[in-house]
Subunit: 209 residues, 4 copies
Amino acid sequence: MTDRKNRTRQNLLDSAAVLFTEKGYAGTSVAEICDSARANIASVNYHFGSKEALYRSVIGYTYDQANTLYPLDAGEKMSSEEKFYCFILAFLKRILSTSMTGNFYKLVAKEMAEPTRESGTLINEIISAKRAKIEKLIRDIHDEDIDEETVVRMTHSIVSQCLFLGLNEKGRRHHLKRKPVRFEDVESFARHITDFSLAGIKYYRKFTL
Amino acid sequence: MTDRKNRTRQNLLDSAAVLFTEKGYAGTSVAEICDSARANIASVNYHFGSKEALYRSVIGYTYDQANTLYPLDAGEKMSSEEKFYCFILAFLKRILSTSMTGNFYKLVAKEMAEPTRESGTLINEIISAKRAKIEKLIRDIHDEDIDEETVVRMTHSIVSQCLFLGLNEKGRRHHLKRKPVRFEDVESFARHITDFSLAGIKYYRKFTL
Amino acid sequence: MTDRKNRTRQNLLDSAAVLFTEKGYAGTSVAEICDSARANIASVNYHFGSKEALYRSVIGYTYDQANTLYPLDAGEKMSSEEKFYCFILAFLKRILSTSMTGNFYKLVAKEMAEPTRESGTLINEIISAKRAKIEKLIRDIHDEDIDEETVVRMTHSIVSQCLFLGLNEKGRRHHLKRKPVRFEDVESFARHITDFSLAGIKYYRKFTL
Amino acid sequence: MTDRKNRTRQNLLDSAAVLFTEKGYAGTSVAEICDSARANIASVNYHFGSKEALYRSVIGYTYDQANTLYPLDAGEKMSSEEKFYCFILAFLKRILSTSMTGNFYKLVAKEMAEPTRESGTLINEIISAKRAKIEKLIRDIHDEDIDEETVVRMTHSIVSQCLFLGLNEKGRRHHLKRKPVRFEDVESFARHITDFSLAGIKYYRKFTL
DNA sequence: TATGAATGAGGTTTCATTCAT
DNA sequence: GATGAATGAAACCTCATTCAT
């Protein structure tokens, strides 16, 4: 009984995660989600109360999945630069993952392109936490006093290189006629972003010396 | 005559540009656009044929405006690195511009997050052209043989740092509680992206030497 | 359960059958149908998907009713001429019936005057089957070799005398100020068409003898 | 000036005649007519006052054309049966004519299938006159006292064989997959209807003798 | 006089939600 | 507890007509 109930609920969550990721909140209808989940048209409201509430649940659900599958915390014994690489790698894995139903970071990218008031503050907090981590990594690598503004800008440079991949997948297929970056390339791509960005970070040392 | 004649059409274009940029295609209703343009609900279909066609017109219109206001071609006498800076600066000016009604590159970013079949191939072509320009600049700066794949990745790194600002403006306000990068900061931010990226580009020289 | 369940659907079908028959496809609005069925404006799309699909359903529904109420197949033991009369009588009963909600053959006549792409191939098939039956009756009565073209023309003469009554009912009221042929007259009118047409059919015998 | 004015008016009339004949009153839009006539969208109301009034003009215009091109009155010296044949022939020529822009009798058939209140009484009168002619021909041929009701029924049989061809052209193409009766066949088809119907008419003599 | 712009009414359809069982 | 039916609001679009020049 509870099993069945949860199955429908779970199907809705899975279908909605995929559809919201692909077509956005406004572009996805409740009927579509229910069809995809082989559930009754009334089931979204029954299980979640509203489309909005379902969306919020999807945000939380995909975030949990991302955390479970690709934990971001690196080992303690690494050097700063190794930690940086590990962080980028884990971040890219989350973004490029195809095994997750839906994809939290693609939803984040969408939210950045077009915020829905429905997403609430959850995404805010999560992104702020990530930025803080990157800022700390930058300071560790830089190893010198460095002004707040510069760190913010470098964080932007790094975050954008990563999150942009979240937008790109479909957009590229549509607009650029290029193969999107695929999960198989994740390590080599993480290597690129790490090297490219480390060079940039270190560049600023000159001036602050 | 022509002034009066196309007043409504122009108002619709201006209002739609702003609203599509702010709220996306699916999130903006024809009624909203007409209200904002103080035009009759039927006027979109009279002047453009459909909401889709209006959207396409907005894409073309904002692109023309961007080209007129901030031409991307730099002077010939500059060094490669100066040209790179000029390109980034002009690109950022377009992205951060608030004077344009609507903003082509914010629409591009939105399209990347959530393609509408309505945008057709126009955006494809424009973005491809921009990427080609950046690839050429990279090759000029690098000054050595460099493999295709590496150039593509560096182009990604540079494009993403720029275009991400298009997403960020509203997204930041919503999600990050930080002041967005403002047009006043454009030169200093272009400087940052230039320096950060040049360091990255040059980093690859080591290996190819 | 099923009774209640499909009440609205059935009401829509009944109302639509009457209205489409009276005013044609283009001349009938969904709102009108829903008003007449005391149903919500959205119910047509809920139950049938679209106005077009409702129209197709009405075609099928009225056809089924016609078949159920007035089967065309005559007894086996009759003479050819008796069979012919029985066929005409049943055909006229269908056309002149007022008890059916809507009337399949009036819709057929309308479709012939102004085809809607919506009717699809259903009407095609049904009419072809009826013509084939009449052609067979003609050959049985004629009892001699008779060329294809002549049979086709006689079939036209017979079919038109019958189906024309489908157009006439309202048209006559409007244009001719004459009482339409009524269901009460059906036997006597079938007698007329039979006699008139049998004379015509037999007339051709002279030449083929 | 007047020439130009009349040209637009005439173009509208021609285009409307064709479109109303093909697609019916409700199925034809004013914009469509103006496009087809290469005239301004406002020109229908300018020249005719309204779509309704244009329709009435089309009825009158196509009727005049039919009368001019194929006069119905046969020579005086003919026998009754020859007159009958001539009448049917001229009637069919009108119905099957493709040289007329639009076609009065196809509009009549449409009106019978689906009267528009716009057609007024003109069609009524015209059709009544035709029926009267046929009734007279029948009485001449029959040459005996014959009751009113029988004449009416025979008139129906004859009129329907003819006018049904007006419906059939498009309807057949759509629904019957048969070549419609073409203008080239008109004489042979008129011969068929004449012979078929004369046999029917004469059949009634037996009983009234 | 003739026309392109503009309009208001009404068309079909979509959609998230609620109802009744 | 779960569902198919039903709904009201609002979406996009069409259309005959009118307006302003």
